[in-house]
């Protein structure tokens, strides 16, 4: 379990993080999202003991980051947003070096490294120079490095940034596997679709403040506005009158004159009322569908932004 306890970080006059207070349950996969400068990286750097907080604390499995940083590092695996490379080093040597840095006994290292290279599907790149690896392979190697000491908590800063679609899918599958192994995972990412697929919980930060923290399901269900996509067989000016009569907003698709998007507040009953009103008005509807609530729209709603 990770407990952020009234965490505060000040850089001169700038408040990077203000009173972050929440608890992440063990085994959760938590997405850390927010606009640039929201405090995501600061939160991760404090958690990984790279910077001390101005006040407050983070407790990881009962161990304080400020009091016992050395012990906390044993149970945290960190994957930064950049993949720093050492020249003239193979993938195996790269992992071996960090295994030594984590004081992993010599007799355990060869099999551990081979296992991890297998887990991240890089066994065939064992002796390849780290610098020659593609971005996706480098990210997977970085993840293998973060797993060397079998940490209970994984902190991943923008793990999918710069990856091609195939590499993103592979990384997602790998993270699903780690979640299944019971690891607590904290991921910062701007790719919300990936987070929606991976995360059990979400932390939304803005200007250093905690805006929302809940399970993904709960956050998605708080979305107030529904988007209904209506398609008619021919352009229908009547539809606007019906929608506005019920107090909703509608926008027409500039490129497809028979496609309309209705923004409405209300539940399933209100949606049924709208459909009945359209049919009663004789609008030639051939498609009437409510768009699924997306993380993007939840994020925009929670942070008070609009598209």
């Amino acid at each position: 379990m990770i407990a952020f306890q009234h965490l505060h970080k000040q850089y001169g006059d700038v408040c990077a993080l203000g009173d972050l207070h929440c608890e992440i349950p063990q085994g959760a996969t938590v997405g850390l999202i927010g606009p640039n400068g929201a405090g995501k990286t600061t939160t991760m750097r404090i958690l990984t003991t790279l910077v001390p907080p101005t006040s407050g604390d983070v407790v990881v499995n009962g161990i304080s980051v400020t009091q016992q940083a050395h012990v906390v590092r044993r149970c945290i695996g960190f994957m930064p947003d950049t993949f720093g490379v050492y020249e003239h080093m193979s993938a195996h040597e790269y992992l071996d070096f960090y295994a030594r840095c984590f004081h992993i006994p010599a007799h355990e290292r060869p099999s551990l490294i081979d296992d991890l290279l297998g887990l991240v599907d890089l066994s065939n790149k064992r002796d390849s120079a780290v610098m020659s690896l593609s971005r996706g392979m480098a990210q997977r190697l970085s993840l293998a490095r973060a797993l060397l000491h079998d940490p209970a908590v994984l902190v991943l800063d923008e793990p999918a940034s710069g990856l091609d679609p195939r590499a993103r899918v592979e990384l997602r599958a790998l993270l699903h596997e780690l979640h299944a192994q019971g690891k607590t995972i904290l991921i910062s990412s701007h790719i919300l679709a990936d987070l929606a697929d991976l995360c059990t919980h979400l932390i939304i930060l803005d200007h250093g403040k905690l805006i929302a923290y809940d399970t993904l399901t709960a956050l998605l269900s708080t979305q107030q506005t529904r988007r209904i996509v209506v398609q008619t067989t021919e352009p229908s000016p009547q539809l606007r009158m019906v929608v506005e009569a019920l107090g909703y907003r509608m926008s027409a698709d500039a490129q497809l004159p028979t496609r309309y998007v209705i923004h409405m507040q209300g539940d399933d009953a209100a949606q049924a009322t709208l459909l009945n009103a359209c049919i009663a008005a004789g609008i030639p509807i051939h498609q009437f569908a409510s768009e699924a609530n997306t993380l993007e729209r939840t994020f925009l709603q929670v942070t008070g932004s609009t598209i």
Binding site: T49, Y98, C101, A106, R145
Partner: protein, 284 residues
């Protein structure tokens, strides 16, 4: 045993030796030292009128030149290499990964120092065939050779620690190298200035030079080249371990200048190591 060595030392040495730069540095170092030695030997040989004493004098001069040149080159090289160590990790964005590992700040700093010293030691041992030449010519014995090597290693250690200290403070390798070289050249240029101006002013004001000898006894050994020259003179005067220093009314026998130089180099190194560890400490 190999498994228990600081991982940073292994990685640094491995990375450095796999780079083609290691070969060029080694070749450049040997060419610089050998050319200087050849020039000095030729000049010494041509200027000697008495062939009987010429051999031992030439041997001593060539040896001193060889060690002096090696010392200067090694001071600059190890300073540059060590200054780019921690700052280089920051630039490569690998430093955070080290900080989040189980390595202590001390292990990181000592690892960087040992790796640079190992490379410096390699360069020093690579010039062994050149050192054999003045030994064959004569005028140099094994004791002098060992003493000079000890002085070179101690001063190289201090320069390395200075580089690592600035590397731990600077945001880029370039700044770290600049600050470290400024320190090293500050000592090389500053100590002679202090050693010559302070006694002159002191004597003009107080007409007493006793205390100045004591002052020089502690200040001059900080200068590596001055230490080599004065040690060479002392050894030729059979004062290998002790040296007389006029102080007030007496002339006590104090440890030789090379011993003071090594001790002072160690103290300077320890101060830089403590500074570098302290610099990394807040995050450890």
């Amino acid at each position: 045993m190999w498994h228990n060595i600081n991982p940073i030392v292994i990685r640094e040495i491995r990375g450095r030796m796999r780079s083609p730069r290691a070969f060029w540095l080694l070749a450049g170092f040997l060419v610089a030292v050998a050319s200087t030695m050849l020039l000095v030997y030729t000049a010494s040989d041509l200027s000697s009128s008495n062939r009987a004493t010429a051999s031992s004098d030439s041997g001593s001069i060539v040896f001193l030149t060889l060690i002096g040149t090696a010392m200067l080159v090694l001071l600059v090289l190890t300073t540059i290499l060590s200054a780019s160590s921690i700052a280089g990790e920051r630039e490569r964005q690998t430093f955070d990964l080290l900080l989040t590992s189980q390595l202590s700040a001390g292990a990181i700093v000592v690892g960087k120092i040992c790796a640079t010293m190992a490379y410096g030691g390699l360069l020093l041992s690579a010039m062994t065939p050149l050192i054999a030449i003045p030994l064959l010519i004569g005028g140099v014995d094994t004791t002098e050779l060992l003493i000079m090597y000890a002085v070179v290693l101690a001063n190289m250690g201090a320069a390395t620690c200075c580089g690592v200290y600035w590397s731990s403070r600077a945001s880029s390798p370039l700044i770290a190298i600049g600050m470290s070289l400024a320190c090293v050249f500050g000592i090389l240029v500053g100590i002679p200035i202090v050693a010559f101006t302070v006694p002159t002013i002191w004597q003009a004001l107080f007409n007493n030079t006793d205390i100045l000898q004591f002052f020089a006894y502690f200040v001059l050994p900080i200068h590596p080249i001055a230490t080599l020259i004065l040690t060479n003179t002392a050894i030729r005067e059979q004062a290998v371990w002790l040296t007389p220093v006029s102080f007030l009314s007496g002339t006590p026998q104090l440890p030789a200048m090379w011993i003071v130089s090594i001790i002072e180099s160690w103290l300077i190194s320890l101060a830089f190591i403590a500074g570098a560890i302290r610099r990394l400490w807040p995050t450890r």
